[in-house]
């Protein structure tokens, strides 16, 4: 039986979370099941950080349930240019976020459920958590062929990935989180998780692409709500606590002091793009200008999301060398970002000779360089 507490209970929750002395139910001591009312990925990731940093998990474990509106989530040490299609994401208004745990890139939408299992470092045990999820699913649908692999994925029918795992080990607390595809938009998923680049050289951690499936395709009665409830029930059974899900609002600073700062940090360019391990793009591409095909060679090195080295080689005299050098010089130090490059290119254009041919060549070159970003 699920009892969803209203937000009014958040005040009680504050004490449950912060004070370990008497004054609340014994069962809250051993375990808590929390569910976010927000579908904002940054707020939900901030909630994970807050629990990790503030809760005393020595003798207590927490399960956190959350879902996000369409977003791509990359791992701590990954390269977004390498992992997803930023152009399509910008067009479709799909957010990009970077989580603090390791692992690969995933697509979230409201058809995907995220489970975060918080424990002390000692009790960190990913396989046990996954077995719990499998038991919950089989409880709902005994015919379901779902199992955990030694890479901590969950596979449906032995072939299709329905869940991926990542984790973070902190000072005294650990968390293991995993996704679960119930009814996610697979078309969006495959279009955004394919990078247009083949030419990035980087030591960022790569993702392992996999065939995916939704639980819903196997059994249309398996909705997100049912699955979340089943996992919560199994968690409650294992930890001998009440099957009681507390709704929490990750934007509530009174219950979670400091959480809005965490949310802000997760949204900064410096965190999302700037944390990318250094990489370089060395490529040739062709431009068409007035029926001639021109070859352009570009070599760009990016560190902390900013251009460190920039070499653009054009056919001789196609553009005055001074102009090209000016572009290269100004790109160095700027963010590897199309909007910043557009602004830069427009500024530079204003100070160069007012000549239609030069302007159109310049715009063509800048447009092409920007497609790399």
């Amino acid at each position: 039986m699920v009892i969803l507490s209203s937000l009014k209970n958040c005040f009680q929750l504050f004490y449950v979370l912060k004070i370990s002395a008497a004054g609340f139910k014994y069962t809250a001591n051993r375990g808590l099941i929390l569910q976010s009312v927000s579908s904002d990925v940054y707020q939900n990731l901030a909630m994970e950080d807050w629990i990790h940093d503030n809760m005393n998990l020595e003798n207590r474990q927490v399960l956190f349930l959350w879902r996000n509106s369409p977003t791509v989530v990359i791992g701590r040490h990954q390269n977004p240019w390498q992992e997803c299609n930023l152009k399509i994401m910008r067009k479709k208004n799909i957010k990009l976020s970077r989580r603090r745990s390791g692992g690969g890139t995933v697509y979230h939408d409201l058809g995907n459920i995220n489970f975060t299992f918080f424990t002390s470092k000692k009790k960190y045990e990913r396989m046990e958590n996954l077995k719990l999820v499998v038991r919950a699913l089989k409880g709902l649908q005994p015919q379901l062929d779902v199992c955990a692999t030694d890479r901590y994925d969950l596979l449906l029918d032995g072939n299709f990935k329905i869940s991926g795992t990542a984790a973070k080990l902190g000072r005294t607390v650990a968390y293991h989180h995993c996704t679960l595809l119930c009814s996610a938009d697979k078309i969006n998923l495959s279009s955004v998780l394919k990078s247009p680049y083949k030419v990035i050289k980087s030591n960022a951690t790569p993702s392992m692409p996999a065939l995916v499936k939704n639980l819903f395709e196997e059994d249309p009665t398996l909705t997100c709500e049912m699955v979340m409830d089943a996992v919560a029930a199994e968690y409650a059974r294992c930890h001998q606590i009440d099957h009681h899900i507390t709704l929490i609002n990750p934007a509530d600073e009174t219950v979670f002091p400091g959480i809005n700062n965490k949310t802000k940090e997760l949204q900064t360019w410096e965190w999302i793009y700037g944390k990318t391990p250094k990489f370089s793009i060395s490529t040739c591409f062709n431009m068409v200008y007035e029926q001639s095909l021109l070859e352009v060679k570009v070599d760009i090195h990016v560190k902390h999301g900013r251009i460190e080295v920039c070499n653009i080689v054009l056919p001789e005299q196609w553009l005055p060398p001074a102009m090209c050098n000016e572009l290269e010089k100004n790109l160095i130090g700027s963010k590897f970002c199309p909007s910043e490059t557009t602004a830069l290119a427009s500024t530079l254009l204003r100070i160069c000779p007012q000549n239609y041919e030069l302007h159109s060549k310049w715009s063509l070159l800048c447009e092409n360089v920007m497609t790399l970003m």
């Binding site: 030591n203 960022a204 391990p277």
Partner: protein, 173 residues
């Protein structure tokens, strides 16, 4: 938890077992830190810097005022194959216990905590292309950062190698 605290107190008064070894800078008689003079191992002009350990499984070895920091064998085994090392910039100022980076392994992303207060002077650039060095040679080639030692007295709060070995035995139980 109480046992661990007791162990830490005990660690400070453990006598070195092998006289010829580079032992902890603790007087066996009083249990108090000796004046800072590392016993050398005999041959060579290089002073042996006694390795000290934190309860988060980092080690630091100080030589000529510069501390070299890495993770212990216990830690590298627990982490599994390391696939990425995220290290700070040179010049970063760290307080003791500040987070200074992370190691990503097949197991998880794990934070790294500074054993002492100081400034980062060098980072191990070979780890960028070869993060597995931390697993293969955690005490030698797999070092992580070098840093200045702003408060040498903080070294006394860390565990000697013997104390650390006892510490990990206690957590394994």
């Amino acid at each position: 938890m109480a046992a661990l605290r007791a162990l830490r107190r005990l660690g400070a008064s453990l006598a070195p077992r092998c006289p010829g070894r580079c032992g902890p800078l603790i007087s066996p008689r009083t249990g108090r830190p000796q004046a800072a003079s590392a016993r050398s191992l005999g041959t060579g002009a290089l002073l042996c810097a006694a390795r000290k350990f934190t309860d988060k499984h980092e080690w630091i070895s100080v030589e000529n005022g510069i501390g070299t920091v890495g993770i212990s064998n216990f830690a590298q085994e627990a982490l599994g194959d390391i696939v990425y090392c995220s290290l700070p910039e040179i010049g970063t100022k760290l307080n003791k216990q500040d987070e200074f980076g992370a190691l990503e392994s097949v197991k998880a992303a794990s934070e790294l905590y500074s054993p002492l207060t100081g400034e980062v002077t060098e980072i191990n650039a070979t780890l960028a292309d070869n993060p597995g060095l931390v697993n293969k040679s955690c005490y030698e080639d797999g070092w992580l950062i070098k840093m200045t030692v702003d408060n040498p007295s903080e070294l006394n709060e860390l565990m000697s190698e013997d104390a650390y070995e006892k510490f990990i035995k206690s957590i394994e139980d």
